[in-house]
């Protein structure tokens, strides 16, 4: 799967890249059509709704885009579960107790209390946070969205109060997801000084060796059977890149 090129290492397959960008488009449409319903008092929201052809059109777009979102999320979960269980896929995205340690180490590092940043594996804790945010939040949005789409059917099996509760969950979770994506994900993928002007991994699927050593040293060590642990070794490749 991963080829060692001159300077780049394959990190994501084309399927993952397509999946990411489909998700991004779907997310953008859902945010646009959803938040403009949530913030209906604002003129910008009203402009969006009116431009899309009115509230009914906006809702229809939102709901069918939601179906596409479910069509991306649910098969993803099923495929991943199947892969981990039966195909011995590496559970590299699973949250590990080391992730919490890494987060604390990194914050200490930022504050100057730690000599080196945390040494992460294939996915660092920031990436896992975003991934699980999308998966868990996504399931929540799919379930609550379905309840809100067919409230009369839902109220046959559930207490009536679950409908406004579903709305509260759906609308608050939407705002949270939107803010996390525009602040955290866009920072890490676009504005972070380490990737600015843009992180190209999700376009090319390849990561540079320097970034890999810097950001995913454990994975690098595992892939190439080398140890970057000693201070000399760890500093060596970095010096080469900076000069």
């Amino acid at each position: 799967m991963k080829k060692f090129g001159d300077e780049y290492i394959r990190r994501f397959s084309s399927a993952r890249i397509i999946e990411h960008w489909l998700n991004a488009i779907v997310f953008a449409v859902l945010v646009l059509t959803g938040l403009s319903q949530k913030f209906h008092d604002y003129s910008a929201a009203q402009w969006i709704v009116m431009t899309l052809g009115g509230i009914d059109a906006t809702r229809i777009i939102h709901r069918y885009t939601g179906i596409i979102f479910a069509g991306l999320t649910i098969p993803h979960i099923l495929a991943a579960s199947f892969g981990f269980l039966f195909l011995k896929w590496q559970p590299s995205i699973i949250i590990h107790k080391n992730d919490f340690r890494d987060a604390i180490v990194n914050i200490r590092y930022y504050l100057g209390l730690e000599e080196h940043p945390a040494r992460c594996d294939r996915f660092d804790y920031k990436q896992k946070f975003e991934y699980w945010g999308v998966v868990v939040g996504g399931i929540l949005m799919i379930v609550t969205g379905a309840l809100l789409w067919i409230p009369t059917v839902a109220a046959r099996f559930l207490p009536g109060e679950f409908i406004p509760a579903a709305k509260a969950l759906h609308t608050n979770e939407a705002l949270l997801a939107f803010l996390v994506i525009v602040i955290w994900h866009i920072y890490n993928a676009v504005f972070s000084p380490e990737v600015f002007p843009i992180d190209t991994v999700m376009f090319t699927g390849k990561i540079s060796k320097e970034r890999m050593i810097h950001e995913h040293p454990l994975e690098y060590e595992r892939l190439f059977g080398v140890s970057l642990k000693s201070p000399e070794d760890e500093n060596a490749p970095e010096e080469r890149t900076t000069t």
Binding site: M50, D56, P151, T152, G160, P164, A165, A168, L179, S192
Partner: protein
């Protein structure tokens, strides 16, 4: 002539020293003869038993424009000839005597004279309006409204082509209590004056009322132009002559301010809409109006408007309902008096139905009818929410939900938090979720932003 005139005066003064004759009156010698008898109290009895006094008020006669002609000029009697005539009744006598006027007044001044006289002797005769011994020039009879009332205070009536009769007798006391008491008749009845009294012919009484209501717009143009958008005017233009015009609600000669009394206003509508009015009287609003004389409650015109009332069956009307109810129910001071919450309007507007409605209004068309206040609370039959068997009771409410949501079942009404802001008591689940996110979202976002700032700072330091 002069000699006769002076002689007359002297004779009169000599003959009736104690009769209060004024110096300017003149009674000819021949008339003196008449007055010898007719200044005494005496009655004439007609066949029908009616009695009429034969005494002539000389003072009145002296002020009359006819003081220069003699009794016999009109009555035909002289001292020598005084034939006995018999009349069935007083009216027959009056009609007979009035004929003599046309011997001198050969042409009719106005059309109305011609018409009135053409109906003689059954109808009106000259003396009915102008008087007989007291006869004066018309313009001196009276000024202003009294000029018109001179005739119209009499029991006159007109007959329309359809055969309907309408009294044109005007009760002056009614005029004086109207808000128009300072106007003159001709302000509304334009085209009429002391000089002109055109004869107009209307098919029916209703036609006349409709035509007359056009007068109102000369002053009340704002109201009139609003009625043009109203359903009543629309009905009228489509041929429904029973649709009300100005005077049907405001009255004609008795017109008074429409704002004065709410109950009286509501009752105006009752005349044509009795069923709706009956339902209204049993509602919480109507009940308070009638039983408690509460003027805070809405009457018909508060929701339907007074002049530009539109068809309440239209979607536009329906979509305006939350605003109508909100006029009072969002008024904090007013609702405080009755211990009612003003959150009812906002909770509706912020919920699914309210938001949809808002956009439908912006879009200018409704894709489907959206539940508004009246769908749950009722229209004219609005009750208190805690009244026995109120429509808001869950079992009743589900039926209302089913009108638009046919699949709704018993639990479904609970999905509406009943105008309450979620709290630990009402909709605790919703409250907890909102509260949780209210804490969690800022916590998360501030945390992430701090990390970003630290990350940038570390990067800058490392360089």
């Amino acid at each position: 002539m002069l000699c006769r005139y002076v002689l007359g005066i002297l004779l009169v003064l000599a003959a009736f020293p104690s009769n209060g004759f004024s110096a300017e009156s003149s009674v000819s010698a021949a008339d003196q003869t008449c007055m010898m008898c007719h200044s005494q109290e005496q009655d004439l009895t007609f066949d029908a038993g009616e009695k009429v006094s034969l005494k002539v008020n000389t003072e009145e006669l002296g002020r009359s424009v006819h003081r220069i002609i003699s009794c016999s000029d009109c009555h035909g009697f002289t001292a020598d000839q005084h034939p006995k005539r018999t009349f069935k009744n007083h009216r027959q006598y009056t009609a007979f005597s009035a004929k003599v006027c046309t011997q001198c007044h050969v042409s009719h001044k106005t059309k109305i004279h011609e018409k009135l006289l053409s109906q003689s002797p059954k109808g009106t005769v000259c003396s009915d309006c102008h008087g007989f011994h007291s006869i004066q020039r018309a313009r001196e009879l009276s000024k202003g409204n009294h000029y018109c009332l001179n005739c119209h205070q009499r029991e006159l009536s007109i007959t329309f082509k359809t055969g309907e009769k309408q009294s044109i007798h005007i009760n002056e006391s009614i005029l004086n209590i109207s808000v128009h008491k300072n106007l003159s008749c001709t302000d509304c009845h334009f085209g009429f004056s002391s000089e002109e009294h055109p004869l107009r012919i209307f098919k029916s009484k209703r036609d006349y009322s409709i035509a007359m209501s056009e007068s109102c717009r000369r002053c009340h143009f704002d109201k009139y132009s609003r009625t043009l958008e109203g359903i009543h005017y629309n009905l009228l233009t489509h041929g429904n002559l029973n649709a009300p015009v100005c005077t049907d609600c405001h009255g004609a000669h008795s017109v008074y301010s429409g704002r004065k009394e709410k109950l009286a206003n509501a009752k105006k509508c009752e005349r044509c809409h009795p069923e709706v009015y009956k339902v209204y009287t049993q509602s919480v609003h109507g009940g308070a109006l009638i039983l408690e004389h509460n003027e805070d409650v809405p009457i018909c015109s508060d929701c339907h408007k007074a002049h530009d009332m539109t068809d309440p069956r239209t979607t536009d009307f329906r979509n305006a309902v939350p605003q109508m109810c909100g006029n009072c129910h969002a008024d904090k001071d007013l609702m405080k008096k009755y211990g009612l919450s003003t959150a009812v309007v906002d909770t509706y507007l912020q919920d699914f139905h309210g938001v949809t409605l808002k956009f439908y209004k912006q879009q200018g068309k409704s894709v489907k009818p959206i539940a508004v206040c009246i769908d749950c609370h009722g229209i004219h039959d609005i009750t208190k929410v805690n009244a026995p068997n109120a429509p808001m009771i869950k079992a009743n409410l589900v039926k209302r939900c089913q009108k638009c949501h046919p699949a709704a079942t018993a639990n479904f009404p609970d999905s509406w938090v009943s105008h309450y802001k979620p709290s630990l008591k009402k909709a605790p689940l919703v409250y907890m979720i909102n509260f949780g996110y209210k804490v969690f979202i800022p916590f998360m976002i501030i945390g992430l932003i701090l990390q970003i700032i630290l990350h940038i700072w570390r990067y800058a330091v490392n360089r």
